[in-house]
Amino acid sequence: MAWDFGISKEEEAYRQKVADFLDKELTEEISRQSWEDLGLDVEGRAFAKKLYDAGLMGWSWPVEYGGKGLPPTYDFILIDELGKRWGAHVPNDVAYTMVGHTVLRRGSEAMKKEFIPQIIRGEIEFSLGYTEPEAGSDLANMRMTAVEDGDYYVINGQKTFNTESHYAEYHWLAVKTDTKVSAYKGISLFIVDQRSPGITIRPLTTMSGERTNEVFYDEVKVPQNRLVGEKNKGFYYMMEALGSERNYVFVPSRYLPYLNMIVDYAKNTTFKGVPLAENPMVRDKIAQIAVEIDISTLLADHARWMEWNHLPMTCEPEITKVFVSEMEQRMVDSVMQILDQFCQLKEGSKWAPLKGRIEWEFLHSFMTTIGAGTSEVGRTVIAQRGLGLPRG
C-alpha cells in the first residue's frame, strides 16, 4: 500500500494491444457514430465484432459468461483508449458499461446466461428507459406502470430522452410496479424487447443534431422472466449502479483530441506574423485546458480505483461527473475564444478550423451538465453524502 500512479506490465501490454488495434481499425466514421450518438449502424456493428474477434472485449467480466475474470482496470483501459480516438465508445456502450453490470449483480442466473455473453460479443445494445416528462431530476416521480397479468406484466406510459431506443435491441426500463407505497419502494426494472407490439418510438432531435427519442408503451406485454432481480427493488438497483456508471461514462480521455487539435492550430496559425503559440493569452488558455484534463483524469482514476477495490463510494464518481461536464464547457469556451470568429464555422463549411468539431462540441456541451443528473443535483449529493450536510 503506497501512492502509485502507474499501471502494471500486464495492463500496459493490454493497453498497447488495444491501441495497435484501434489505430488500424477505428475509422473517424465509426467514432462519429459514438460521439454523435448516431447509433450502431452497419459499420459500428461490424466494428463491434472485430473488437471481440481481436480478443479485446470482456477481460474484466466473469469467466463463466465469456470473460477473462480480470479486474475492471482492463475495461477502463479499453474505454480510455477508445476515448482518446475522437471520443469513441465501446460500440454497445450502454450494455457494456452500464446495464451489464446490474444484470451481473442482480439478474437471475438464466438472465445472466442469456444476456452477458451477447453483451461481451458486442451483439446487443440497450437503451436506458428512466426519464419521463414528469420525472427528470426527480426520477422517483415516474408515472409509467407495469401490472402483473398471468405470465406477463402489462406496461403503459411514456419515457423521454431515451437516446439509444431507435437502434438498441432492448429497453432497460424502470416502471412503477406498486403505486401505493413511497416512490422509492415501488419501482422495478425490466428488460423489454424494443420490437414488442405496442411500443412507439418517436425521434427528438437535439440542438447538436444527435437523435434521442420519446418512447410510448401501449398495453405492452413483457414476460415475467424479464423482471430484473426482485420486484419493487428497481430504484435501489439504479442508485446502487450510479457510482459505477459514472466511472464508465465520464471519460476524461475523450477531451485529449481537442487539446491536441488546438495545440496544433496554435502552432500553425499566425496573426500579424506571430504564431498564436507565442501569444501568452493563447498559451494560458490552452495550458488551463491541459491542467483540467489532468485533474479530470485523476478524479476519474481515483473513483475507479475505489470501485475496483470495493471501497464505499459516497460522492467520488459524482465529483468526476460534475467536474468533467463543467470542464467540457470551459474547454469549449476557451478554444472558441482562441479561434475567434472562425469558431462558429460548422463542419464542412469553407474556412472551418478544427474540422468544425469545436462548433459541434459547443452545441453538445449544453447537455453535459444536465444529462445523467444536473450539476445542481450533483453538488447536493456531494454536500450531503460526501460532507454529511443535512437534508432540508
Partner: protein, 379 residues
C-alpha cells in the same frame, strides 16, 4: 495504481497532527508568531527536531531517517493543516534538498548532520527586484572571482526566513546576463558574513519573507554548491520539489478550512435551520470538496513522479497552478460561509486565507506555471 498512504506515512500524519495541535495552541499564538521577529519558538523547533522531521529525507549515514520525498510531502501536508510557522520549509526543502542534490561530500558531511539535528537553519536567496514577473533565472546579482574567494553583490527579495538562517544559499550570476539559465552559481553563504543585511518584509501572511542585501560579501571558493555556472538545472529541480512541497502545505490548509467550514455550516442556525441545510451553502461546500479532491491527487502524483525520478515538469506545473487556485477558492468560500465572524482577526479563517495568498505566489503562481505547461505541450 494506488491512492493510499503507506503505514509509515499514516504514522507520520498521526504523530504530526497530535504534536502540532499542542505546539500551535490557538489563534493568539499564531498572531504572536506573526509579530515575533523570529516567527517561531525554540520549543516548537526543538520538538520538531526530536521527532526527526528535519532529517526526514536525509540519508541515515548523515544522521537522518532516509525517507522519501513522498514522506516529506505527507509531513508538509500536516504542517499546512496546522498552518505551522517557522523555517522548516526553507531549511529542509530549499536548504537540505539543494545540498543533497548538489553538495560535495565535504559539504554534505558538514551540513546534513546539522540539518538533521535541527542545529542549522538554511534558506535560498533567489528572487530579485528585477523579477517583477517571477522568473528564477532572472538573476542580476553577481559573484566575481577574487583570488580564493568570490565577491557577491546584489539584492534578493522574498527570501524566506533569512532573518534566522545560519546558511543562505545565494544564487548569483558568474557569467551571462539576467534571464540566461546558464551562468548561475549557488554559494553557501554564512548568514553572519559581513556585508549581508537582512530586513523582514511586511507581508499579508506575516511570514518572514526578507530582503537580503549582499554588499561585497566575500565567500570562499569551496563554498560553491554544485558546479560553477551550472546551477540552472539544480535550481529547476529544487524549485520542482519546492512547488510540490508548497502544494502539500496548501492541500493541508484547504482540508482544515473545509473541515471548520462544514462543521460551522452544520451548527450555525439562521432562519430556524442550520445553514448547511440550504442548497446555496451546500453547493459552496461541494465546490470546496471538488477543489480539494483535485488538489490531493495532482499533488501526490507530482510527488510520486519526483520521488521515482520520472519526468515531472508538466505535472508539477499542473499541480502548482491547480492547487494555488483551489486553495484560494476554498479559503474564499470559507470566509463566505463564516460571514462576519470569520472576518475577525482572532478567527482561524484569516490565518489560512492569508497563507493561501502567500503560497499562491511562492515558487511561481498559476499563470507562471501555465506558461511552463504551454511550453511542455510544444507551444
Amino acid at each position: 495504481m494506488d491512492f493510499t498512504y503507506t503505514e509509515e506515512q499514516k504514522m507520520i500524519k498521526k504523530e504530526a497532527r497530535r504534536f502540532l495541535e499542542k505546539a500551535c495552541p490557538n489563534v493568539e499564538w499564531y498572531l504572536d508568531m506573526d509579530k515575533d521577529e523570529k516567527g517561531f519558538t525554540p520549543e516548537l523547533w526543538k520538538g520538531m527536531a526530536e521527532l526527526d522531521w528535519m532529517g526526514i529525507m536525509i540519508p541515515e549515514k548523515y544522521g537522518g531517517i532516509g525517507g522519501s520525498f513522498l514522506d516529506l510531502v505527507v509531513l508538509l501536508e500536516e504542517m499546512g493543516y496546522a498552518a505551522v510557522p517557522g523555517p522548516f520549509f526553507s531549511t529542509v526543502v530549499l536548504g537540505g534538498l539543494t545540498v543533497l542534490e548538489a553538495g560535495t561530500d565535504a559539504q554534505k558531511d558538514d551540513l546534513l548532520p546539522k540539518i538533521a539535528e535541527g542545529k542549522c537553519l538554511l534558506t535560498m536567496a533567489l528572487t530579485e527586484p528585477g523579477t517583477t514577473c517571477y522568473d528564477p533565472s532572472f538573476i542580476e546579482t553577481t559573484a566575481k572571482a577574487d583570488g580564493d574567494n568570490y565577491i557577491i553583490n546584489g539584492v534578493k527579495l522574498f527570501v524566506p526566513d533569512a532573518n534566522v538562517s545560519d546558511v543562505i544559499i545565494a544564487a548569483a550570476r558568474t557569467s551571462g546576463v539576467a534571464g540566461d539559465k546558464d551562468g548561475i552559481t549557488l554559494f553557501l553563504v554564512d548568514g553572519g558574513t559581513p556585508g549581508i543585511k537582512t530586513t523582514i518584509l511586511k507581508t499579508t501572511a506575516g511570514d518572514k519573507l526578507c530582503e537580503v542585501i549582499f554588499d561585497a560579501v566575500k565567500v570562499p571558493k569551496d563554498k560553491i554548491l554544485g558546479s560553477l555556472n551550472g546551477a540552472g538545472a539544480v535550481i529547476e529541480r529544487v524549485l520542482q520539489y519546492a512547488a510540490v512541497g508548497k502544494c502539500a502545505e496548501m492541500l493541508g490548509g484547504s482540508h482544515k478550512v473545509m473541515k471548520i467550514t462544514v462543521a460551522y455550516a452544520k451548527e450555525r442556525v439562521q432562519f430556524g435551520k442550520p445553514i448547511g441545510v440550504y442548497q446555496a451553502v451546500q453547493h459552496h461546500c461541494a465546490n470546496q470538496k471538488m477543489a480539494i479532491e483535485g488538489s490531493i491527487y495532482i499533488t501526490y502524483k507530482a510527488a510520486w513522479l519526483l520521488t521515482n525520478g520520472f519526468p515531472a515538469a508538466r505535472i508539477v506545473s499542473s499541480a502548482k497552478s491547480w492547487v494555488s487556485e483551489a486553495y484560494k477558492k476554498v479559503a474564499a468560500i470559507g470566509h463566505q460561509i463564516f460571514g462576519g465572524t470569520g472576518y475577525i482577526v482572532e478567527h482561524p479563517m484569516p490565518i489560512y486565507s492569508r497563507r493561501a495568498k502567500a503560497a499562491e505566489y511562492a515558487y511561481g503562481n498559476a499563470n507562471y506555471h501555465r506558461q511552463l505547461i504551454a511550453s511542455e505541450l510544444g507551444l
